[in-house]
């Protein structure tokens, strides 16, 4: 069992990496694309039945993401 945490830059924060990739995608012929945002995915392996979602939210807020600049989501997968 694992938790997959996805951290992305907040919409209000400039994401120069995403902007550079959007430009490169246009060079590859992909037309009329909107914004590209680059984040990170963190996979945490956990023993089955031990997932405490409230605790996971706390860790995401306090450590895995910085709420000033980033948003996070997580999902639990088998």
């Amino acid at each position: 069992m694992k938790a997959v945490v996805t951290v992305t830059p907040k919409k209000s924060v400039l994401d120069p990496q995403g902007a550079a990739v959007a430009q490169a995608l246009a060079h590859h012929g992909l037309e009329n694309i909107g914004k590209v945002r680059i984040g990170k995915s963190i996979e945490i392996e956990l023993p089955a039945g031990t997932i405490d979602e409230a605790r996971l939210h706390q860790l995401c807020r306090d450590f895995l993401s910085n709420p000033v600049i980033e948003d996070y989501t997580f999902e639990i997968v088998a």
């Binding site: 830059p9 209000s12 924060v13 400039l14 120069p16 990496q17 450590f63 910085n66 000033v68 600049i69």
Partner: protein, 227 residues
């Protein structure tokens, strides 16, 4: 005056900070390993630049949980002067001692050059000997120095006079071209509400010896030493 210069795995401006401090009469500097949990006996703390924990996760994100940071928070709460330089500024923001955050430079490049910054407040122990509006020529060396914060935080920083330095050109004008990394409101450094915690991206410790091209960083150390 006894300075503690913190050392994390990946710090690389720690020795520069020690050398800069020791160039002033009446100042001593000791390296303090991040696993230490006391700052007893020190009069000032420098959180130096570098790449603590390889900048993994986010710059300063892992260092904020080192044991020494609890001691730094206590030291700061008692009014002790704390100076965060470059990665040290990032660590102070991550730990909540300073508001906002530092993200990737606008143009994605790592910047290593001399820039100009204007002193915006002399109400900190680190700038009290500077003239308001004084322009300093000091090097920067960072990939993630783009200061961001929300509108409410920016308003608070402006209203409380917490913006310590802004990037400017040589004449002290905040032009777009003189903002090297895209920082909000040209912010190069800020202080906390009380004034005793200051963080900045430029490296004053690298501008303390004429041989290195500038001595404009000395005013920060002279200020703290005369307080």
């Amino acid at each position: 005056m006894r300075f503690a210069v913190l050392q994390f795995p990946g710090s690389n401006c720690d020795q520069d900070a020690v050398a800069a401090v020791r160039s002033f009469p009446g100042a001593s500097a000791d390296l303090v390993w991040h696993k230490t949990n006391s700052l007893a006996g020190f009069d000032a703390v420098i959180v130096p630049g570098g790449f603590s924990y390889g900048d993994y996760l986010r710059c300063g994100a892992i260092a904020q949980f080192s044991p020494i940071l609890a001691a730094v928070k206590e030291f700061a709460a008692q009014g002790g002067p704390v100076l965060g330089i470059c990665n040290g500024f990032q660590i102070l923001c991550e730990s909540g001692l300073l508001p906002g955050a530092l993200v990737r430079n606008r143009d994605l490049h790592f910047l290593c050059e001399h820039i100009h910054l204007r002193v915006e407040t002399t109400a900190t122990p680190f700038t009290k000997n500077a003239r308001p509006g004084q322009v300093l020529r000091i090097p920067i060396a960072h990939g993630e120095g783009n200061y961001v914060c929300d509108d409410a935080t920016l308003a608070e920083l402006e209203n409380n006079g917490q913006i310590a330095f802004r990037y400017t050109d040589a004449t002290g004008a905040t032009t777009e071209a003189a903002n090297p990394n895209g920082s909000r409101a040209h912010i190069a450094g800020i202080r906390n509400a009380a004034g005793n915690v200051l963080g900045l991206m430029p490296h004053p410790e690298r501008a303390c010896d004429a041989l290195l091209g500038s001595t404009d960083g000395r005013v920060l150390f002279e200020s703290i030493l005369s307080s």
